[in-house]
């Protein structure tokens, strides 16, 4: 295995809820305070604070930092849609590797209840949004093609949703704390066919933070390190693209495996970007657990359950946990950290040594995905 690029000294995550009574700033502060407490460091030792948020507005990091003594140092705010948190993580990791910082707080946060109801607002300059395109519709069309081209059917989308809710019910920070049956998924209202409400990730308010360090935490505690991190934008095209396959995800997964000197056989778990149930089936293929067009076999066989061959989204994924846009990438890291250190009660995956995190950001015309980030976290 390759060297650790940066260490995870501590994590903190607020409950993901429909509408938090905390202000945006309070949410962020809670997650950061929890991470700093677990990392057992002092705020004065934090060299930089990177804040990933999709909808947090100007100077989001500074508004959070001010009230808790985290201002007066390098603060950078980053936006990459649903990959905002992962993007902040990647740049923090680069700063540590380059020797420009020893301790960085990374936060992912969004308070979507402030945006009103309905689908997430997208850029009004986008030619497809101008005609009423919404994110569920993009994935509905992926699902239509995937079901048409492969042996998958609606029951596989249902199975992803049922697994997500089963896992999320055991995750104390998840928004959705109850399981659902196949019948309930099929009875939920149609959003854009074939995707029904319970096959789509729910909006949420929430924040997740991690303390990244250049040196390992003191002996006697579980040591978790980042062995790989790859980030890129998708490539714009005005013409044909295969919507059933994320080439961008495949490319970054390959880079991450190479950085870490690992392969899919070395994973015990993965957290992938299941914004909509079809996405999980596609990403099984992207991360190398199945050949292209064969991902649906894994949800049917149970191989991706918590006690399966490779647990995918043991924390509930976006569908079970909820999706406060910027927070998700860091919440995925929190789940992997809890799994590796044996703190995932009720959903514990056995003996996790390597976890892959896959987070995408989308919502504009002509892109496979606007952004994608792949991280490999390991016991070290």
């Amino acid at each position: 295995m390759s060297d650790v690029l940066a260490w995870v000294a501590g994590v903190g995550c607020t409950p993901f809820v429909h509408a938090s009574t905390d202000t945006f700033e309070e949410l962020g502060q809670r997650a950061i305070a929890s991470a700093i407490d677990e990392a057992d460091i002092a705020i004065k030792d934090v060299d930089a604070f990177f804040c990933g948020t999709g909808y947090g507005g100007p100077l989001a990091g500074q508004r959070i930092a001010g009230g808790m003594g985290l201002s007066g140092r390098k603060i950078v705010n980053m936006e990459n849609a649903c990959s905002s948190g992962s993007t902040a993580l990647e740049l923090a990791m680069e700063a540590v590797v380059a020797g420009r910082a020893r301790t960085i707080v990374v936060l992912g946060i969004d308070k979507l209840s402030a945006l009103g109801k309905g689908a997430l607002p997208l850029s009004q300059d986008d030619p497809e949004v101008q005609q009423g395109m919404i994110m569920p519709a993009v994935y509905s069309m992926r699902a239509q093609r995937y079901l048409h081209e492969t042996g998958a059917d609606e029951s596989d989308l249902v199975a992803v949703a049922v697994k997500a809710r089963r896992n999320g019910a055991a995750n104390p920070i998840a928004k959705m704390r109850t399981t659902v049956s196949e019948d309930e998924v099929l009875a939920s209202r149609m959003i854009s066919d074939p995707l029904r409400l319970l096959m789509c990730c729910p909006r949420a308010d929430g924040a997740a933070a991690v303390v990244i360090t250049s040196t390992p935490p003191p002996a006697g505690r579980g040591r978790v390190g980042i062995r790989a991190l790859a980030l890129s934008a998708g490539r714009f095209t005005s013409g044909y693209r295969d919507m059933t396959r994320s080439k961008l995800s495949e490319q970054l997964v390959a880079e991450a495996y190479q950085q870490a000197s690992l392969g899919p056989k070395d994973l015990q778990m993965a957290e992938v970007h299941d914004a909509f149930a079809i996405a999980e089936l596609m990403y099984y293929e992207s991360i190398g657990l199945a050949e292209p067009g064969q991902g649906w076999r894994l949800i049917r066989s149970g191989e991706t359950a918590v006690d399966g061959r490779v647990a995918v989204n043991p924390g509930g994924g976006l569908i079970g946990r909820g999706h406060p846009v910027g927070a998700t990438g860091i919440a995925q890291l929190c789940e992997a950290y809890w799994q590796i250190t044996g703190q995932a009660e009720g959903r514990q995956v056995a003996d996790v040594r390597n976890a892959l995190l896959h987070c995408t950001g989308g919502g504009i015309a002509g892109f496979d995905h606007g952004a994608c980030s792949v991280t490999i976290l390991s016991a070290a």
Partner: protein
Amino acid sequence: MVDTDTRLPGKRCASCQVSTLEAVNYCPNGCGATVVDTSFSPEGTVYASTTIHVPAPNLSSPYRVAYVDLADGPRVFGHLATSEAVELGSAVRVIRHERPVDQAGPYVRFQFVAAGSAEGETR
């Protein structure tokens, strides 16, 4: 009457030939050459479609959308004019509309009718 007015306007890179329906100023492939005016046949095939049940201002609810791959290359997003089922790969003709005056929010810019049908011409 079929004439050049039914062709769809767009832009093409004079060097790499990548083309688009959007009024771009730069080559979408990044090759740095001049982009020139071009037009496309309105004939295409349906790549994928869905019916959106989330209401949107100015649009009927639910509304049916699709990606259509034009015979001349670009992929276009727009609205299906029919309420009948549409098979993947079926042939359609694309009709372009201007944004209604003084209307903000979503509008039907590209409308897809079955190839050979007279539907939609007077919209």
